[in-house]
């Protein structure tokens, strides 16, 4: 049976990992390659690296990080952040990334999804959606790292991304992100049940039960988290043992 996936997310700035000071006994907690190797050995199913640098120089450094990670680990990884055009995708896939994650650029120019999936196949194209549930209940998509409302609904956009060839949807609920009170399972369930491609839950992980709930109640195919892993609050081996006991199929 297909396993539910656990995906740690690492933010990279100027070639080093942001956050993650408490993570196990790394000599250099800021070294993304060492961190990637440690997560892979702990049983992470995939990794996501987000480039949060804005500069041109930072981009070059990030590409170099991607090359080193690709040589070091033997599990799939996705890269995102600052992908604005097809040339960025060419560069990152050539560096050894398995998938790329598009966010604002895809909302602004949806045809980018068609272009990338025609060239490389659906499996490389993750569409990341940051959305907030407004007071009237409407799930609104945001761009620019969640700063600017875009005027498109979550479900409508996810469906369009799928129809254009996206291989997966990575949905971050801005209402839940950073709150550590659980994932947006109601919206996730509606999203997952209405799409034919996998949905990755993001935003809200605080306890092991939150992971169980997003798989069991939110119908998510995978769950992504950052700080609970980086600060050592939840260990991946313990999380997977717990999920197995809760009858969630995970890779052990």
């Amino acid at each position: 049976m297909l396993a539910k996936r656990i995906i740690p997310c690492l933010d990279i700035k100027d070639g080093t990992t942001v956050k993650g000071t408490n993570f196990i006994n790394l000599r250099q907690a800021g070294d993304p390659v060492e961190l990637a190797r440690a997560y892979s050995e702990q049983g992470a199913d995939e990794l996501v690296f987000l480039d949060i640098t804005a500069s041109h120089e930072g981009r070059k450094t990030f590409t170099h990080v991607v090359e080193q990670v690709a040589q070091a680990i033997n599990i799939p990884f996705t890269v995102g952040g600052g992908i604005n055009e097809a040339a960025d995708v060419d560069r990152l896939l050539a560096a050894g990334a398995d998938k790329v994650s598009l966010n604002s650029a895809a909302l602004r120019r949806p045809e980018l999804i068609d272009q990338i999936t025609r060239a490389y196949g659906s499996q490389v194209c993750v569409v990341a959606i940051d959305a907030r549930q407004e007071e009237d209940g409407y799930w609104q998509c945001y761009v620019n790292g969640g700063r600017v409302p875009f005027g498109k609904g979550l479900f409508e956009w996810a469906r369009e991304a799928q129809d254009r060839g996206a291989g997966e949807i990575l949905f971050t609920s801005m209402n839940h992100d950073g709150v550590k009170a659980g994932f947006a399972n109601e919206a996730l369930r509606q999203l997952s049940d209405s799409l034919s491609i996998p949905v990755i839950a993001s935003g809200g992980a605080g306890t092991m039960q939150h992971f169980r709930d997003t798989f069991a109640l939110g119908h998510s195919s995978a769950a992504l988290a950052a700080s609970v892993f980086h600060f050592g609050e939840i260990g991946i081996p313990q999380l997977k043992q717990y999920l197995r006991q809760e009858n969630i199929n995970v890779r052990l």
Binding site: M1, L2, A3, I75, L93, G96, Y120, G121, S196, L252
Partner: protein
């Protein structure tokens, strides 16, 4: 030991060369028939669409080169599908080394997503390629088409229904999953292949 990777129009082979690098082996990416025939081992990886891939192989005469090979060859993902008789993807006649046909996943329930993407387990494991791999071992898959269980199946995975996770006939081996992305289990399978 000389390792050749078949050069054609099906995707990124960087992850395969990286995996071989972790095993201390360097490979040559080539579409030169002589280099392919002389190699000790041949890898035939790929992602992409069967129709375009087969058209390219035929145009470049690589179809008959691959059929003529006598050393161990390992097809990966679309590589496995192209070694079969026929693929439903683009109604494509393939290389015909394996008698099996390739068909598309047909979801039966809401939770059956296509592509089949992620870690799934191997059962009914046999053949030297799978030495040291236990029943239930997880490996990484990304695909929308599959090979049903047939006479050449050496490992089975269950997704919507059981299908061939790996095939073997004579010197031809193939995996639907990506050993280069399948953690320690995948590392072991690639090592087994290099030691055949």
């Amino acid at each position: 030991m000389s390792i050749a990777i078949v050069k054609y129009n099906a995707g990124n082979i960087r992850s395969v060369t990286n995996a071989l690098g972790r095993l201390g082996v360097e490979a040559t990416l080539t579409d030169d028939p002589e280099l392919l025939q002389r190699a000790d081992k041949v890898l035939f990886p790929g992602q992409g669409e069967a129709g375009h891939a087969m058209a390219y192989l035929r145009e470049h005469g690589l179809d008959s080169v691959i059929r003529s090979l006598r050393q161990p060859l390992l097809g990966i993902c679309i590589g496995q599908q192209l070694l079969c008789r026929h693929s439903e993807e683009g109604d494509t006649d393939c290389l015909g080394i394996f008698s099996e046909d390739v068909v598309r996943f047909r979801p039966e329930r809401q939770e059956d997503k296509v592509p089949h993407m992620g870690w799934n387990s191997l059962t009914h494991v046999k053949s030297p390629l799978m030495a040291g791999i236990s029943e239930g071992e997880f490996v990484y898959f990304v695909h929308s088409f599959y090979v049903p269980v047939g006479e050449n199946t050496i490992a089975t995975t269950d997704y919507i229904q059981p299908f061939s996770a790996a095939l073997h006939r004579d010197n031809f081996y193939a995996t639907q999953f990506h050993p280069e992305k399948s953690g320690d289990a995948g590392h072991r399978i690639l090592k087994n292949f290099l030691e055949l």
